[in-house]
Amino acid sequence: MTVTDTIKVGAPSLAAQPAPGFHQARKRARTGFYHVGMTVLVVLYILPVLWAASMSLRTDAHMFDADQLIPHPITFEHYVNLFTILPDFGRYVGNTVLIAVVGTAGTLLSSSLAGYALARFTFPGQRALLMVILLTLMVPPQVTLIPQYVIFRNLNWLDTPLPIIVPMLFGGALPTFFFRQFFLTLPRELEDAAAIDGAGRWRTFFSVMAPLAGPAYLAMGLLTFVQLWNSFFVNSIYLQDQNQWVLTQALQSLIGRYNSQYGEIMAGVTLVSLPIVIGYVFVQRWVVRGIAFSGMAN
C-alpha cells in the first residue's frame, strides 16, 4: 500500500489538482462503460436463441422481417402445425423423459457408491482401479459402440430404450471420479461418529454421507439429465423405429423434409429447449458449480 501511495505522490502535480471526487468519477464511468459493453455483448450473444423463439411465433408473412424480434401479430399456428407434422410428439417427450430420468437415477446411485468406496475404503488395487477408471475417459464411445450394438441386437433390444438406459445403470467414469473427489472433501469425523453409534458402512453411507453429498447429487444429476435429454448420436443408432424416437431425433427429422417451414422448425426447437431453459433459470448455480468442481477435480 505504501508503495502505491508513494507513486501517487510522485505523480505530476497536475494530477493532484482535481477534487478527490475526480478519481471516483472516472472509476464509475469505467464501470458504467463495462456494464453497457457487457450488456450489449450478452444480448447479441443469445440473440440466435431469442430469434428462434421469436420466429416460432411469427406469421408466415412476417417470417423474415428484421423488425419482428418481438413478433406482431403473434400466432401459435406453427405449434399447432408441428403436432400435425409430428403427431407422436407426446410420445417422443415420454421416451426422452424415461431415458433421462432412469438413466440419471441409475448413474447417480452406482457412481456415488463407487466414488465413496474409492474415497473412503482401503483395499488392494485401489489406485490401479482409479487409474483404469480415468483411462477409460480416453476411450471414444464410438469404439465400444459397435460390439455393444451387436450385443443389444442379439438381446432383441434394438428400438427399445434399454441399450441407452442399461449401461447408464452401472455408473460412468466421470461421475464416479466426481463423487470420489467430493467425498474426499467431507470430514471423516461424521463417519467415525456413525461407526461409534454402531452403524455399518452401508447405513453410514445411506443415512449420513449420501445426504451430506446432496449438492454433489444435484449438480451431477442435472448435468447427466441435460446430457441425456440432448443426446442424439447413440439414440440415432439404437432407436431407428419412429415410435421409439427421442426429441432430438424428431427435431432432426424436420430438417430436410420441412426445410422451408421455418415457423414449425423453430416451434420444435423452442419446445425441446424450453424445459431445459426454464430449469436452467432455477438451478443454474448448481449446474455451474458442478462443472467448476469437476474441472477443478483434475
Binding site: 463407487a114 483395499f123 477409460t136 459397435i146 442424439f232 429447449s273 468442481f293 477443478m296
Partner: protein, 328 residues
C-alpha cells in the same frame, strides 16, 4: 505371553481389512461390472471385428485378416475425413480455448451484475447440439438468414457459409465455439479465482502492465486448467458428429450429412456411414470398427503428446507437496 499378543491382535486386524475390502467390492460392483461389460470387453471385441467383414446380414463375422487396415490406407476418404477433423481443431477447438478465456477474463471479477452475464453466456451450453445446429443453419442461410442480411447492409455479399466447402467447417466451428464458450469460461473462472490476489498486485507494483501480469502471472497459475481444457476439447473434436448432422443434413437422412463435397464429413460420421451402408465391398461393422480404432489410437497419441509436452508449460502451484499424490 508377551510374544503372542501382537500376532493375536494382528489376526482380527487382517480380518477387518479383508472385510473392508469385501464391502468395498460390493460398493464398487456396479461400476466394475459396467467397466468390464461396456468398455473393457467391447474394446477387445471391436479390435477383433476390425479384422473381419460383417454386414449384419450374415450370421457371423468373417475373418479377413488385415484387409480392413490395408483398405484404410487406400481409401481416399480417410485422409479427407482426417483433414476435416484437423480443420475443425484449428478453427473450433482453438477458438473455443481462446474465446472462453476472454469471456472468463471479462467476467471473473466479482462485481454486481456479473452473475447475469455469466448465466447468459453459459446458456447455449445446456441446449441440444441438434437444436442449436438447426437455429444456426437458419442464421447462415444465404438467402434470408440474418448474418448475410447484416453483411449486405455494408454493400458486400456475404460468404456462402454451409454451402461452400471452404467455409462450411469454419461455420460449424463458430457454432460449437458459441455453444461451448460458457463451459470453458466456467472452468477458467474457477481457476482464476484460485489465484492469490497478492500475486498480480505484486507484479503491478513491480511495474508489470496488464498483458505482462496476465502472461507471466495469471496464465502460469491457471495452466493446469488450460491443459485440462486442451486435452478434453481435443478428445471432443475428434468425436465431432451432432453439429455436423444438424447443419449439413440434406434430404432428411443422416447418411446425407457431411457436405458440401464431403468438406464436413468427420471420422465419426464416416464410421456411421460405413456401419449402416453396405454398398461397398468392405463396408459393414468390420470396417467401421477399424475406423473407430483409428479414432481411439489418435485420441491416445494426442493425449500422450499433450501430457508429455505439458511438463514444459504447466505449472502446479503445490508441486512437490502432497498434491501429486492421488490426483489424476
Amino acid at each position: 505371553m508377551g510374544e503372542t499378543a501382537p500376532s493375536s491382535a494382528q489376526a482380527p486386524r487382517s480380518r477387518a481389512r479383508r472385510r473392508e475390502a469385501g464391502t468395498a467390492l460390493l460398493f464398487l460392483l456396479p461400476q466394475i461390472f459396467g467397466l468390464v461389460a461396456f468398455v473393457g470387453v467391447p474394446l477387445g471385441v471391436s479390435l477383433y471385428y476390425s479384422f473381419t467383414h460383417w454386414d449384419l446380414v450374415a450370421p457371423e463375422p468373417t475373418w479377413i485378416g488385415l484387409e480392413n487396415w490395408t483398405h484404410l490406407l487406400e481409401d481416399e476418404r480417410v485422409p479427407k475425413v482426417l483433414w476435416n477433423t484437423i480443420k475443425f481443431i484449428f478453427t473450433g477447438t482453438l477458438s473455443f480455448l481462446l474465446m472462453s478465456l476472454v469471456a472468463a477474463l471479462l467476467t471473473y471479477r466479482p462485481r454486481r451484475g456479473v452473475a447475469f452475464y455469466r448465466a447468459l453466456l453459459f446458456l447455449p451450453y445446456v441446449l441440444s447440439q441438434i437444436a442449436v445446429g438447426i437455429v444456426w443453419r437458419w442464421m447462415f442461410n444465404t438467402e434470408s438468414g440474418p448474418i448475410n442480411a447484416a453483411i449486405e447492409l455494408f454493400g458486400v455479399d456475404g460468404p456462402q457459409w454451409l454451402l461452400d466447402p471452404a467455409t462450411a467447417m469454419p461455420a460449424i466451428a463458430l457454432v460449437t465455439t458459441w455453444q461451448g464458450l460458457g463451459y470453458g469460461m466456467t472452468l477458467y473462472i474457477a481457476s482464476l479465482h484460485g489465484v492469490p490476489e497478492a500475486l498480480p498486485e505484486a507484479a503491478k507494483i513491480d511495474g508489470a502492465n496488464a498483458w505482462q501480469r496476465f502472461r507471466h502471472v495469471m496464465l502460469p497459475m491457471i495452466s493446469p486448467t488450460v491443459l485440462f481444457l486442451v486435452v478434453t476439447s481435443l478428445i471432443g473434436a475428434l468425436q465431432l458428429f451432432d453439429p455436423v448432422v444438424a447443419m449439413t443434413t440434406s434430404g432428411g437422412s443422416i447418411g446425407m450429412a457431411g457436405g458440401p463435397d464431403d468438406s464436413t464429413r468427420t471420422v465419426v460420421l464416416y464410421m456411421y456411414n460405413q456401419m449402416f451402408n453396405y454398398n461397398e465391398r468392405l463396408s459393414g461393422l468390420g470396417y467401421a470398427a477399424a475406423i473407430a480404432w483409428v479414432l481411439a489410437l489418435l485420441t491416445f497419441v494426442l493425449t500422450l503428446v499433450q501430457w508429455a509436452f505439458s511438463k514444459r508449460w504447466v505449472f502446479y502451484a503445490g508441486e512437490g507437496a502432497a498434491k501429486k499424490g492421488g490426483q489424476g
